[in-house]
Symmetry: C2
Subunit: 110 residues, 2 copies
């Protein structure tokens, strides 16, 4: 039904999935990489940088903001976005914990 049954999973599993989902689109990956690259914050430059329409970029920014990974502040008519360092670090810990699971040593499993 296109609907994840979140109630049958742990909070941690759902959290990992939520973070992963937001990275699951190249436009959002691109936006984040750009915000990391440009030390100072960017705004509608992203629309030019990435080749998508303004409403589309705005929507992707909204999702990133909603998860707390970026923050934006109004600067005149434009809005300045940047990485939310604190939340990024927290998210990173969660994801690293998942990615760094120990791989069983049994040469070949089955």
């Amino acid at each position: 039904m296109g609907l994840a049954k979140t109630e049958m999973f742990t909070g941690q599993q759902n959290e990992i999935a939520l973070f992963a989902k937001v990275f699951g689109h190249p436009a959002r990956v691109s936006i984040l990489q750009h915000l990391f690259k440009i030390n100072s914050c960017v705004c509608g430059d992203l629309v030019n940088e990435i080749g998508l329409a303004q409403p589309t970029i705005s929507q992707h920014l909204k999702e990133l903001k909603h998860l707390g990974l970026i923050k934006g502040s109004v600067e005149g008519t434009s809005v300045c976005y940047c990485i939310n360092a604190e939340n990024w670090t927290k998210m990173k810990e969660t994801m690293l914990n998942f990615l760094n699971q120990d791989i069983p040593q049994t040469k070949d499993c089955c």
Copy 2:
């Protein structure tokens, strides 16, 4: 249109998004965690472990297999799945590279 315009992004960005996407559902997170926990491989136990129907689990396994993160081998009537250690490590490098980007030090960006 519900269709990611992959051609406007770098191969690396698309790769990150593809990996992230597969982690973007708690059932697949759960499957992977279970495969990491149970040293020996599991098969239809996942159907019992996780509360989803057999075809649903089978579908999630297919996606994980398609990305190369797990491998399965037939054992009689059942199929034994396990982490593909080599590919997991490769994926991890790609994702770590993305997650570990240096956060600009400028106290507060905007």
